[in-house]
Amino acid sequence: MKRKLKIVILWVLILLMLTGCWDKIEIEDRAFVMAIGIDLSSSNKRYVVTFQFPNAAQITKGTSGGGGGSEKPSFAVSEVADTIFSASRHISTRIDKALYLGHTQAIIFGKDVVENKDKFQQVLDSLDRSYELSRKVYLLVTPQKAQDILLKKYEMEPNTGAYIRDIFKHYNRTSRFPTIDYNKITKSLHETNGNAIIPKIIAGKDEIKIAGSAIIKNYKLAGWMEDDENMGYMLLTGLVKGGDVAVSTPGDEERIEIPFNISNVIRRRAVKEENGKIIYRVILEVEGDITEYTFEKQMMKGDLLNVIERKTSDEIKKMTQKAINRFQKELKVDMLGIGDYIEKYHPSLWEKVGKDWDKIFPEVEIKVDVTSHVRRIGLFR
């Protein structure tokens, strides 16, 4: 009798549980959001959130047949709401699928969001706290409206989110935008109380371009960085994995631009205190290849390589100087990791200056020494 009772109870429990399947959503009923765009509404009080997700049915048809046809390869829907996630809830009134954010590849902030300190902080917090969002999303800022970027369909890759992610995957070809992912951005924001660099994205007619970056100071947009400054910044912070520097040398008729293709950068740092002033030295050793020259002249002759190396070093130094000026003189915010370095490697010095770092930073003397080495010149002499 006792045994039977146990079995009955067991069965009842099992049956009760079977009524559940609380979380089951069939995969075809989900909308996998690939990219999210966040702007502020015209009254600046609410958010306009855009979700871009691919048209799942289209994917296999595309591979088996030829081109798509009349079907749209991806959808983008916008919603206006008070907070980010209420937007995703409200959208369910219009979309028949359940939004799923676990595969989101990129989040784009419109310019107006980054200019508004409170809103930006709120957005960041909701991203941080979210459990559905993966930490591998890429954050981007656009000077336009994020909605505009996402609502367009791009021929190259209709799935905008994947498009953005793939651009990041090949980042080591160029140093035109900083290779910063979500982790680094939030880390920087937390540690420096609101300073970070976020890559910039703009939409062309039929494609998107990621180049340059936005400077965030105290959770507000403080400016944009373009090409050279960007590269200088990356060199100083050790983020460079590739890129090119154009060096000009005298040629027969005009000056020739020789591209120095960076393959490796070794960065060393040192800090000294002299006469109450802090001197921060960055020593860069750059290695690279030469990929273009004039057809006739030979490279292995004479002093040419040394000349190129010297000129490259100069160019690089100029770039870093631009970045330094930007941060030190113009914005007065330490994004170069100097404070971080001092705190870690010279803690006694940090104890002295740490509290007033914001004031001391603009006075720091930053010296950059660059040496370049040409390692390879291609297949030709």
Binding site: M17, W22, D23, S134, E191, E343
Partner: protein, 369 residues
């Protein structure tokens, strides 16, 4: 019911110790130590580990003086019977609290990462019932289960972190040891929640076959646990830095989400980790569950501990639902680990040791130096 003779080997003791200790602690450990000692979390864990080793050996020593009795029985000889009964009852409550807390944390994590809409009650109940199913069979199956789950828990975790090695920034561990001693001890205190588990040494002694190897087992178990925690914390702090780590609730899991495993097509190792983590919690829960019922059975002089296993489930379940939110859960966890744990791990053994020496009690000296 297949009878087991409840005899286990010293090797199995080491494994049981390890799997019991490694439980819910790994989730929050890096955050807790970062809060107190900043980038020196690793050292704090090292300190905590050594201290735990010391106390574990102390408890082992105490138990070895009474080779055929568990704590419930021999405590009465050292401190008077009534007090020992009270302390044993508190020990039961202590173990039950841990099961409840761990079950609750497990439910919370699962709800966030895997099953958002499933009622947490169901998650906790299923886990508790599985534990009850195993615990009813006694100590031997528990030892075997731990033996099987141990490599499954450890090896994938160790291997999965390796690709992240390149992203680790060693400078995140500087500045080195520029923290006050008080803070450091506080940091060590934070690690207690993660090292809780070796109190079972109060009860294990009579069931072990090769007792002379027990010292080595305890050593290896404590060291392995400590190394394991250090390994994980190394990666967390190495990638996030201490400032970011202390902001997060479960830095371990956030780290998992960030790992990119490019080799195989598996982008997300999250799934595997969640599965393995289920086993980790399972080993902790069933161990405490068993020992709680064991003490109960000894206190109430029952023949079989299995009578108490099922009735314990609803009690644990109800307790686990008491805290409102994860915030209160950790508050309670803090109380329990900082007050009760310290008592059982540190204060009580020292007290008993002193009384032991004073009264010169105990059986033949089991220790071979």
């Amino acid at each position: 019911m297949i009878k087991n003779n409840d005899k286990i080997s010293a090797n199995q003791v080491a494994i049981i110790l390890f799997t019991t200790m490694v439980g819910a602690g790994i989730l929050s450990l890096p955050a807790d130590v970062s809060k107190e000692v900043g980038p020196n979390g690793l050292i704090a864990i090292l300190g905590g580990g050594i201290a735990s080793l010391f106390f574990a050996r102390l408890i082992l020593y105490l138990s070895s003086k009474f080779p055929t009795e568990t704590f419930v029985e021999y405590a009465g000889k050292l401190i008077t019977r009534p007090i020992s009964i009270v302390i044993s009852a508190v020990l039961v409550f202590y173990f039950v609290m841990f099961v409840s807390l761990d079950a609750r944390i497990f439910g919370e994590v699962l709800k966030i990462y895997l099953l958002p809409s499933t009622p947490i009650e169901i998650i906790i109940l299923t886990m508790l019932f599985s534990s009850a199913y195993l615990v009813r069979y006694g100590l031997e199956p528990i030892a075997r289960m731990s033996e099987i789950l141990f490599p499954i828990m450890v090896i994938p975790l160790v291997l999965l972190f390796l690709p992240v090695l390149t992203d680790v920034d060693l400078s995140n561990f500087l500045p080195f040891m520029r923290v006050s001693l008080i803070k450091f001890f506080k940091g060590m205190l934070m690690t207690t929640y993660s090292f809780v588990g070796f109190e079972i040494l109060y009860l294990l002694f009579p069931y072990v076959i090769d007792r002379d190897k027990l010292k080595r087992s305890v050593n290896s178990a404590m060291f392995s646990t400590m190394l394991f925690y250090m390994y994980i914390t190394f990666f967390v702090i190495g990638i996030f830095g201490y400032k970011e780590t202390r902001e997060q609730l479960w830095p371990f899991l956030t780290l998992i989400k960030s790992i990119n495993f490019p080799v195989f097509f598996i982008e997300n190792v999250e799934g595997i980790i969640m599965g393995i983590w289920t086993f980790t919690i399972f080993t902790t829960i069933y161990s405490f569950h068993y020992f709680a019922t064991l003490i109960l059975s000894k206190l109430l002089k029952a023949r079989e501990h299995s009578y108490f296993v099922l009735p314990a489930v609803p009690i644990i379940y109800l307790i686990s639902l008491i805290p409102d939110s994860i915030v209160t859960v950790y508050k309670y966890a803090g109380y329990v680990s900082q007050y009760m744990s310290v008592f059982f791990i540190a204060i009580l053994p020292i007290l008993l040791y002193i009384i032991l020496k004073v009264k010169r009690l105990g059986g033949k000296d089991e220790e071979k130096t």
